[in-house]
Amino acid sequence: MMFSKRTKEHKPFPWHLWVFLGPGLLIYLTFSVYPLLDTLILSLYEEQAGQSEFVGLKNFITLVTDENWSSAFWNALSNNLQFFAFHMLLQNPIGLLLAVLLSSPKLRLASSYRTLIFMPTMLSVVIIGFVWQLILSPIWGISEEFLYSIGLGQYFDAWLGKEGSALVTLSFISVWQFVGIPMMLIYATLLNIPDDIIDASTVDGASPMQTFFHIKLPLILPTIAMVSILTFVANFNAFELIYAVKGALAGPNFSTDLLGTFFYRTFFGFQLQQGSSTMGAAVATLMFLIILVGVMLFLFFIQRRIQRFQF
């Protein structure tokens, strides 16, 4: 049993407790909790000539309404939503399909497939971005040649360079890299489903399809929900891929701008616009609120409706 409260009160100051907890807590508070709170507060200030002045919600109003700022902000937000939607529509279904195939009974080479398909997930987003930039480059022409070889050559285009297709292409690249995460987590859940349940449904005459939709799918829904929230947080925090492939300006014509790149430009400045830490803090605060709302929605609505099964 743990210490009961009464005996605790009579004890001397629990030095050992703070020796264990102190160092980690101190670093966490200093470099994560404090900066986050400080950023939230900073977003309510304006800095001019080294003097900071409390301005309330002015920075936020500027961000969402001012003509110099708002279009960039809404553009980044809408791109980010598209980026996220793409992941939900492609990454998780493909991950689910691969996980189901991998978990087929008596599948040979399953661990090799698993290891190889997961490989891109291990590499840095920056490296993956550059790799695809080369592969899709019209100068090198690998993709073009490949498309011609399967008779689709006329559809080739400099996808990454065109305003209409750059964001979709980058979403594809990101989905391609991270499909391993839903695959792995769903696969682990599938492996944990006891054979008895599956056998029972087979004995009762359920087809493999029925077994999947009525037995397995409900059991992996919590995992899918968790993968979705992980994807949400990662997508609304994404920066590296865009920065590596398109630079901080998220070209062409900001068509690939996400909140992460918008935050970076606002904070550090670009071209003629000077960087501003208070405006940067305001963007970060909005990102914080978006992520917080997403996580809360997940916790209150989705998580509550899903029953957890323990075997």
């Binding site: 743990m2 605790k8 050992h16 407790l17 020796v19 264990f20 907890l21 160092p23 980690g24 670093i27 966490y28 470099f31 994560s32 404090y34 900066p35 986050l36 400080d38 950023t39 493909i94 399909l97 691969l98 991998l102 008596k106 040979r108 080479l109 661990s111 497939y113 290891t115 190889l116 398909i117 490989m119 891109p120 291990m122 590499l123 840095s124 987003v125 920056v126 490296i127 550059f130 790799v131 695809w132 080369l134 090198w140 040649e145 499909v179 987590l185 682990a188 968790m226 947080v233 925090n237 590296e240 920065y243 904070f267 940067g280 803090a281 970060a284 914080f288 992520i291 917080l292 996580v295």
Partner: protein
């Protein structure tokens, strides 16, 4: 027929066989999709410029084989230093996350005290809220502490980044340790420090391996904090080094391919060696 035997278990009927072929077909196709771009880059890094453009899909032949790209990379950038910086930062940060995380997880699960719930909640928040959102203030803080362009700044920030998940996973694990073990030691008047370091810590090893994997990958691959906190030539990590190098020599195909290969291959080798442990950690249920 021999090839088929690799994919199929013995004694399969025709129906099972066609199903099995479909499954292997899809998985094999996806494996090719997952590996093709990476293999193309590695393959072409060992060719000369002509070979790269004339036939990108061909393996290097004696005629096209060339290491000129690697020579250029090593000549024009301090690749060894970047790799060393990354290694140093990752090892220090992961080591400290594991140690401090285990200590904090032990304190939060074993002892009852007034702020326990608040601190547990603070750590739990950190799992979902990305530390990057505090970048503006982190940079100010690092400037004030005179730590700009030091690896120390990266290590400190990465410890803060890794701790929440580490505390969560390790706490779950601490709860599975039988209480009798600790109680018995307490009866023998063993100090709390010795209980932790000689009884608990060794038992936490498997969970620590999981934490190490989860913590290591984002740190090694990170671009954001090296770019903002430590962009100088001497403190560049490998991800930032490659990003800067490729940005600078973007038209020099042999160099770019070589630089990417040099960033990819060590990770692939490590991954191949440790993939079993890594995947076990990922699927062990620690993050379910």
């Amino acid at each position: 027929m021999k090839l088929m035997q690799v994919f199929l278990p013995k004694n399969t009927s025709a129906g099972q066989m066609s199903k099995s072929v479909t499954i292997h077909g899809i998985l094999l196709a996806y494996t090719v999709i997952a590996l093709f771009p990476i293999l193309i880059v590695i393959m072409n890094a060992f060719k000369d410029r002509k070979g790269i453009f004339r036939d990108p899909l061909a393996l290097p032949t004696s005629e096209t084989f060339s290491l000129v790209g690697f020579e250029q990379v090593l000549l024009r950038s301090d690749f060894g230093l970047f790799a060393w910086n990354s290694l140093l930062v990752t090892v220090l940060a992961v080591g400290l996350v594991i140690l401090l995380g285990a200590m904090a997880a032990w304190a939060l699960t074993e002892y009852r005290f007034r702020m326990n719930l608040l601190i547990t909640f603070l750590f739990a928040m950190g799992i979902m809220i990305p530390i990057r959102l505090g970048t503006v203030s982190i940079l100010r803080l690092i400037v004030e502490l005179n730590l700009v362009n030091t690896l120390t700044s990266l290590v400190l920030v990465y410890i803060a980044q890794g701790l929440p998940l580490a505390v969560y996973i390790l706490s779950e694990f601490v709860r599975t340790i039988p209480k009798e073990l600790v109680e018995a030691a307490r009866c023998d008047a063993v100090s709390e420090y010795r209980i932790f370091f000689s009884i608990i810590l060794p038992l936490l090893k498997p969970a620590m391996a999981t934490v190490a994997v989860f913590t290591m990958i984002p740190i090694w691959n990170d671009l954001w904090f090296p770019l903002i906190l430590a962009p100088s030539e001497e403190t560049r990590t490998i991800t930032l080094g490659v990003q800067q190098f490729v940005g600078q020599y973007v038209t020099n195909w042999t160099s770019v391919l070589a630089a990417l290969t040099m960033a990819i291959v060590p990770v692939l080798i490590l991954y191949t060696i440790f993939s079993r442990q890594l995947i076990r950690g990922l699927t062990s249920g620690a993050v379910k």
